[in-house]
Amino acid sequence: MVVLAQISTYFQLLVQTVSDPVNIAILFGSVLLGIMFGALPGLTSTLGVALLTAVTYGMSAESAMVCLLAIYVGGTYGGSYASILINIPGTAASAATALDGYPLALKGEAGRTIGLSTTASAIGTIVSMLFLVTISPIILHFALQFTSFEFFLLAFFGIMISGTLTTPDLVIKGWISGFLGLFLACVGRDRLQFFPRFTFGIPELDSGVEVVPVLIGAFGIPQIIQVLKDRLQVGDVQKLQRIIPEFKTIVRNLPKVIRSALIGVGVGCVPGIGEDIAAWVSYGAAKNTSKHPENFGKGEITAVLSTEVANNACVGGAIIPLLNLGIPGSPPAAMLLGALMLHGVTPGPMITFEHPTFIIECAAILLLASMAMWVTGMTLAKQVVKVLRIPAPIFMPIVGMLCIIGSYSLGINIWNLYLMLPVGIISYFLTEMGYPIAPLVIGVILGPMADENLRRALMVSQGSFLPMLTRPVSLALVLIIVWMVLVQIPLVKNLKNRAVGKVFRKRAK
């Protein structure tokens, strides 16, 4: 009965959203904007969500979610346009698509490839939506039994895993980035005793570091500097023929679609890991299991299918920990967290009590967004690809302007700009030196949760850390964190590699 009631609520919310013409206009407008953001090299869905957050300020929470989820879905899909047509990934999420998408376009199959990526992306989003609806009650059931120790460890785990998996260089750099984010979260008056920390007597710092301007600075400013400093030039755009939905290819490769969707959802659920990793993992899996791995990189259609299903499935996956635990699964989801708080929705285990239908509402919006994305992709792709011809020195300054007005308008505080710009410039240097930005952002977001819960937990246990080892979830998290640290030690790393090698050799025999 409960399931039936949930399904009925789902359809009610779906109809309710569709019946409002304003919501439909927001949905299609945001999807289109998202596709443009994704398609333009240098702009990302994270930046799109960040900039639109300011615009949603005056909207209801429902319309704001329609707008932000639509731009997230559209942006993740839009990256494939630039990958397929000019061999420059529009976003990191579509970098794997370029490997086979561009060779296909060179063969004169650009229309077919874009059609396939559109359908695959829509399917990926819909599958992840199904997971959001089905897994959330289970996670919530467990999360309600979590104590402060578990929440502290979850926050700590989020920062550590994000640092470990998103770093382009040494793992230590990912961790440093995460702890720098945690430090930023400590600025301001602490929430338990109201003691001013690192405020230097500046009253504007008393309330702490505003999350959204920090995110806009950390993601927007380095992007602008990088693109214009390195003079990123867009090459010739391949000709786009008739767009074909490619349902036959999808049906023929159904097992691959399911596997890629599962990879996407799974990677999305891991805190701080973005769509790019989902796409690469899926690409690797498709290549390893293919009968013709030699065709990969030369225009293999199943490669495009695998990456596009996975990166869009990551969208729903990233929202699962965000809504149920308050831990964002990807950088755009981190932006969504900031936006949700702005609209008075605090994600976490209490969400079903405070906003009983919110998760189902998000699922309904995801379905609508994927449908809007499919329709827009099929009908407007030829028009949308024209944005690829806009030179970066024209649109990047406008993005810079949007970053500034967007950061300022959240709280109507010029101090936000004084914070956003230095964070942006420091983030640029960090990126140049191989420090990932995602853990920094995750640190800023999860910092207050880690701080409050650690001290609250220790207060309850009278300063004892023992409950961390006696509670099953805590123990599991402690063990994972310890393992994550240990495997970075060369001696342990060698032992692990030797053990794995032995297992593989035995299997080969």
Binding site: L182, I394, R455
Partner: protein
């Protein structure tokens, strides 16, 4: 991102800086109440506001040291000494005058002057037009020599504004005319546009780009600005001459 070998060299320095930063966090955290009373609450170590900052500081300092060690181990002490020698030689000046570095300076100057100097003091729309026009003309011509010339002109103008505000000329002139500062900014904008024009007028391609820059930098603020000002009801950081004119038309004050 840097190449791997350069990255390891940079790691030695960034590791050291991060380590020192971690130590600074620790030094600040130990000043926070650990056992004393704060706001009537007696502290014990585990409820102290210093608990997390102290832990973070120690971890950052240690990770920074580890990074330093990895960098040193990879590049070797001799190579590291060479890098330090390189940094102390004239090569550093050469690096700092590279075209790519100059592009970074240009962007940093444009953003810093906009946020810290212009936005709090000059009408938002004028700031936005100046920022966009300067930004686009510096980068859309794809000519580093021209970019440097434009940057110098822009810097001279901003230096004038620093003096203008520092000596209190704005208070004096705004007393005579309410929008005096905005009019000065408008003059600077016109001066910059004329200065750029002198370099592009004989080149058809550059003239085309100049026109595009002018159109985009005039249109964009007047599309973005009113959305925030009149639809989202966000007051601009500084409302001056242009906002007064827009208000005049928006609220139909002439009727």
């Amino acid at each position: 991102m840097l190449e791997k070998e350069k990255m390891r060299k940079a790691d030695v320095f960034s590791g050291a800086v991060i380590s020192l930063f971690g130590l600074w966090i620790v030094s600040q955290a130990v000043k926070m109440p650990m056992k004393d009373s704060w706001g009537g609450v007696m502290n014990v170590w585990y409820v102290s506001p210093a608990l997390l900052p102290l832990s973070i500081g120690i971890i950052i300092a240690l990770l920074g040291l580890m990074l330093c060690r990895i960098g040193l181990k990879t590049v070797g002490l001799a190579e590291f000494k060479n890098t330090v020698r390189w940094l102390l030689s004239r090569h550093l000046v050469w690096f700092l005058t590279l075209d790519t570095t100059a592009r970074f300076y240009a962007m940093a100057v444009l953003f810093l002057t906009l946020v810290f100097l212009n936005l709090p003091r000059i009408d938002f729309f004028l700031d936005a037009v100046l920022f966009l026009f300067a930004f686009i003309t510096m980068f859309h011509f794809y000519d580093d020599a021209l970019m440097k010339k434009f940057l110098l002109f822009y810097l001279a103008g901003e230096a004038f504004f620093i003096l203008y505000f520092a000596v209190g000329l704005d208070t004096l002139l705004n007393g005579i005319h309410p929008f005096a500062t905005d009019l000065v900014a408008l003059c600077f904008l016109a001066g910059y546009a004329l200065y750029v024009w002198t370099f592009v007028r004989r080149n058809t391609d550059l003239r085309k780009r100049y026109r595009l820059a002018l159109v985009v930098s005039l249109l964009a603020p007047f599309i973005i600005g009113p959305i925030f000002k009149y639809f989202l009801l966000v007051p601009m950081p500084k409302e001056g001459l242009v906002v007064a004119v827009l208000d005049y038309f928006w609220y139909l004050e002439f009727l």
